[in-house]
């Protein structure tokens, strides 16, 4: 349990300490065993059949889902009364991360256990849970989530599927087409969103056997070819009224709340995928010889491995910090109360910003990893016989689904500003302070003898950067800022990178006393390498925003402030990179 419970986005205005964060090193023995079970499942049951999955062997995905169910991997988030284990989010993320190494099946798993199952857990009636949940947690049934339509992608609520009550009042008749439905070809239960009387956006639980429900052919995809993606077509599909999920007209709550968890889980899953791809890259660097030596000897390769290691370290730190935040908040809700899941939802909603950050940051770390792993392979990276090629293709979807990275980026400053305006976040007061700070000369001196002194110093400055620039943006556009997407995207980059830098830093501070000297130095190197790269990104994004929102003297003051607040003394950067690369090459895996 953290020392104090941070609110959503509070990290931007409050200094957190190492005792405020949960880290992967804090896992209990049971959680490690659960991770091990997931590893074994991937290694023994999934990896050997990946090729067969890739060719869409009928029945294989459903069989794997049942095996995942036997292993208990589908029980994590479900309540005990329905055969679940009601474990915390940290465990759920840990399992998702390990399953992230399962290639396309990772996507099937996430769709089933996340967006496929959670709406029922959170909003289902007892009767609905009795009927369906126990089948989903064992894997006897697979689940799919049907929100997207041909003309409603990012505009998730813009779907045209309709639901009409039959004259006898016993059924809703669903008509419409859902598209890009993961697990479509084999799912037994679909959570479908439709508008009742073309108005009230509502969720329905629809069984596969429902007459009028047909599943379209498999889409031919760029990547994750081993997962099933189909359209699901409703032509007069009669769904019993008992199968309305949640309240009529409140479907958007379900759609969006479940996406919070989905995004967060995706952050964990892609981190697992990144670790897998990294192994391949590190091993190849050791094995491949050019100019008579392994290419691992070259700085050009080492720098890639170092940068990727630092990125994965940050992604991991960020995901589990968020898991800790959510778990701590959920733990304050008394169980067995009527409004439990309502409060639970609000608890997760509190961190909608961090969930979006996890999705964007981690998926982009994976993108960097697979790209460089292909690059490390040179020409072989382009050849299908080597796994790098598949990692590269499989990665791409992660920046698109669960809300494109653009949608998620917009959501970050959008939500922050909305909360600030509602008075939930004292952003304006802090922005004023930061602005005043700009007018006074800096007296802070670094004490280089303190560990992470430079990172601590710059972190404070980065937060001020966000405050100053977003303050200027609000001043310029006021409420209209929500429509200035270029500005919002720039602000998002600043906020995202700050969360990542701080998460990695706090984790390193927390775990360092427990590490051997060598591992401690590795962690410090990861923090330095990551901080340097992230500060550069923040400075660029902040300057971009400054030019968008200001001119004349204001612009000059802003740019001066950005320059001052993004100063980072990265002395020792090259040795830090070489150290990380050496650790990665020695172990041929993500070394931390």
């Amino acid at each position: 349990m953290a020392a104090r419970l941070f609110k959503g986005a509070e990290y931007l205005i409050t200094e957190a300490t190492k005792d405020d964060v949960f880290t992967p090193e804090d896992f209990t023995e049971e959680q490690r065993q659960i991770a091990h079970t997931a590893d074994q499942f991937v290694r023994d049951d999934v990896t050997p059949v990946l090729d067969r999955l890739e060719h869409q062997e009928p029945g294989l995905s459903a069989a794997l889902m049942r095996k995942a169910g036997e292993a208990g991997l589908l029980m994590i988030d479900a309540p005990e009364a329905y055969g679940g284990l009601a474990l915390d989010k940290a465990t759920s993320m840990l399992a998702a991360e390990r399953m992230g190494a399962a290639g396309a099946f990772s996507v099937s798993y996430a769709a089933h256990s996340g967006i496929g199952t959670l709406p029922l857990v959170y909003y289902g009636t007892e009767a609905q849970k009795d009927r369906y949940l126990s089948k989903l947690v064992t894997g006897e049934w697979s689940a799919a989530y049907c929100l997207t339509e041909p003309e409603a992608g990012s505009d998730a609520l813009g779907g045209k599927t309709t639901a009409t009550l039959t004259p006898d009042g016993k059924h809703y008749v669903l008509d419409g087409t859902k598209q890009f439905i993961t697990n479509g070809s084999f799912a037994d239960l679909f959570t479908v969103f439709a508008r009742i009387d073309k108005k009230h956006f509502t969720a329905f639980l629809v069984e596969r056997s429902t007459p009028g429900l047909t599943v379209g052919p498999e889409e031919k995809k760029l990547g994750i070819k081993g997962s099933s993606t189909t359209s699901v077509i409703f032509e007069g599909a009669q769904v019993p009224v008992e199968n309305v999920l949640g309240e009529i007209g409140k479907g958007h709550k379900i759609a969006f709340n479940v996406l919070n968890v989905g995004r967060f889980k995706l952050g964990a899953a892609v981190t697992g995928a990144a670790k897998l791809a990294f192994r391949t890259g590190a091993a190849y660097a050791n094995a491949r010889k050019q100019f008579g030596v392994p290419i691992a000897r070259f700085g050009a390769i080492q720098e890639k491995l170092a940068d990727l290691t630092a990125g994965i370290f940050a992604a991991e730190s960020l995901v589990y910090r968020l898991a800790g935040l959510i778990d701590d908040r959920l733990a304050t809700i008394p169980k067995d109360t009527a409004g439990y899941y309502e409060a639970y939802q609000q608890g997760i909603e509190e961190y909608a910003i961090e969930c979006a950050i996890a999705k964007v940051f981690c998926s982009e770390v994976l993108a960097d990893v697979v790209d460089e792993v292909v690059q490390i392979h040179g020409g072989y990276g382009f050849i299908q016989e080597y796994p790098a090629e598949k990692y590269y293709r499989d990665e791409r979807i992660n920046r698109i689904f669960e809300g494109t990275n653009e949608i998620n980026r917009l959501l970050v400053p959008g939500t922050i500003l909305r909360r600030a305006m509602k008075g939930e976040l004292p952003l304006q007061r802090e922005a004023m302070k930061a602005l005043e700070g700009l007018m006074t000369p800096s007296l802070d001196e670094l004490d280089p003898s303190l560990p992470f002194a430079a990172e601590r110093a710059v972190l404070g400055g980065l937060k001020k950067t966000f405050l100053v620039v977003s303050g200027a943006a609000v001043q310029r556009y006021a409420e209209g800022l929500k429509d200035e997407q270029e500005v919002l995207l720039a602000l998002a980059d600043v906020a995202i990178q700050i969360f990542a830098i701080e998460s990695a830093l706090l984790r390193a501070e927390k775990i360092s006393p427990r590490l051997t000297e060598s591992l401690r130095a590795d962690a410090a190197a990861a923090v330095k390498v990551h901080t340097f790269a992230a500060v550069e990104k923040i400075a660029a994004a902040a300057r971009r925003a400054a030019f968008y929102v200001a001119e004349g003297d204001t612009l000059t003051v802003l740019l001066g402030g950005i320059r001052r607040y993004t100063k980072y003394d990265a002395t020792g950067l090259l040795p830090a990179k070489r150290r990380l690369a050496a650790a990665a090459l020695e172990s041929e895996r993500y070394p931390l």
């Binding site: 023995e29 065993q33 079970t37 292993a71 029980m75 020695e586 070394p591």
Partner: protein, 267 residues
Amino acid sequence: MPLKLLVTVKRVEDPESRIRARPDGTGIVTDGVNYKMNPFDEIAVEEALRLKEKHGGEVVVASIGGAAAMVELRAALAMGADRGLLVRHDGALDPGVGSALLQALVAQERPDLVLLGKQAIDDDQNQTGQMLAARLGWPQATFASKKESLESEAEQKKQPGVVLAADGGRALVVREVDGGVETLDVALPAVVTVDLRLNKPRFASLPGIMKAKKKEVREIPAASLGVELAPAVVVRRLFDPPRRQAGVKVADVAELWTRLHAEAKVL
């Protein structure tokens, strides 16, 4: 007849970890090394669980080692074993001492069958089961295996490889020997050590892991068992094996044959 099964569980270095000797030869480099249950012991636990599922009874898992060995005991409990015994012993252990400590546990527990991995993948001794059987004066069946492949239907149905006679007093054990498979018929109580091909161990399910937390593990100080704890197999020094030097690349099959024939003289 319900069976009482005692299974050994040793904490060893993960075979996926890179193992090398410390430069001073006093041990191995443990930085970055993970630990897990000896894979052969995992097979022994699986066999015991299958026997229990078929015949009823109790599976007791035992480990000798430091406090950390609790992790592997919990892992065995998570697979489905009923309770654990941890003989606390922090010093060096050899098969002689190990088998003597196990003999003392057998005296306390009185199992029908003791199952052990044929060897631990750290010291690779392959002695403890045989020595335990000798100390107890029990029959032994080492390197237990199975005739069916690990892809067979029997394996899918998780049938035990060790077949008990109807009266429960004897067991048929198929064992891997050089050049074939031998079947032995041993009177119980007996000691069985298991080989790789006996079964494919289940992994702990999540409910199993959660239940294991509540299962009993009794700690027993090694010194309390009345066994001489000084090892008789003493490792004086460890070193990395000489690295094989890369040889030559041959141009074609003809050169390969010539070299193998005339130079290496292996063809």
